[in-house]
């Protein structure tokens, strides 16, 4: 239980405890905050990357293994120039009824493309980065996939990263 466990503004209060009760030990808890990295340029010059656990992937790429008992710790690169019709979702752990009609509700690739075109942000990295959540082994997740994506984000030249844990 935390101060925010029953915050009435959440549609699903107590989610951390509910998942951790069903799958003991899978939920991450940290004891400290890490120092902030600082913006090195204004947003209008910053190249943004998007990182998502929604299971969005280019059609014809290897589908995420959504029924693996321990988790699928692989990543997919999603070209930031993709159209929603180029992409599909392989994940069953969150409601996709909205995304099925408009992918932008969970993977707002068109809105990000517009903001880059308008100059609100400096641009987009060549790729966005996608994986699936609900991993059953937090240490493996943090030591492998998290580090792999962090390295890929840097290699793609990101100045800022927007993340969306689905």
């Amino acid at each position: 239980m935390t101060a925010n466990s029953n915050d009435a503004s959440q549609l699903r209060p107590g989610l951390w405890a509910a998942i951790n009760e069903r799958y003991p030990g899978v939920m991450i808890t940290k004891d400290d905050f890490i120092p902030l990295a600082h913006l090195k340029k204004p947003l209008t010059e910053a190249r943004l990357t998007f990182v998502s656990s929604a299971g969005v992937q280019p059609k014809k790429t290897m589908p995420f293994d959504v029924v693996h008992p321990v988790g699928d710790y692989s990543l997919r690169r999603v070209p930031s120039s993709s159209a929603p019709s180029d992409l599909e979702i392989h994940q069953i752990k969150y409601p996709t009824n909205g995304a099925a009609r408009d992918l932008n509700v969970i993977f707002p690739i068109e809105r990000l493309q517009e903001l880059a075109t308008e100059g609100v942000i400096g641009g987009l990295t060549p790729n966005f980065f996608s994986f699936i959540g609900y991993q059953m082994d937090p240490p493996t997740f943090e030591q492998t996939l998290a580090e792999e994506i962090a390295a890929a984000v840097v290699a793609d030249g990101a100045d800022i990263a927007l993340l969306c844990p689905a």
Binding site: L39, I106, I121, I149, D159, A166
Partner: protein
């Protein structure tokens, strides 16, 4: 994940719909929206709302002063759904025209 990116010098903001999970995982910066899971940027075809959530996150890159700051976007799920339904109805009407 978010902390791993931030540690490499790239500022991060995450969009969350679960404050208690955010409180446990302690990301460097987060923006909270009181929306349904899987609908972090709102409802289908509501471009303005989708953009508003992203822009709130962009603003948080600039304004957040301390690690762990969570910004609450002043939106509600019921309002988002009402607006989304109206947008879809308008789109349907438009699509039915010859």
């Amino acid at each position: 994940m978010q902390r791993a990116i931030e540690r490499r010098g790239v500022p991060t903001v995450s969009i969350t719909v679960a404050l208690d999970i955010t409180e446990h995982s302690k990301p460097p910066r987060a923006v909270f929206v009181p929306f349904m899971m899987g609908h972090h940027f709102g409802v289908p075809f509501h471009r303005e709302l989708q953009r508003q959530i992203i822009c709130a996150a962009l603003d948080h890159f600039v304004k957040a002063q301390q690690s762990g700051e969570v910004h609450r976007v002043p939106v509600t799920w019921s309002q988002a759904r009402r607006e989304g339904i109206a947008i879809e109805e308008a789109l349907s009407i438009k699509n039915m025209k010859p």
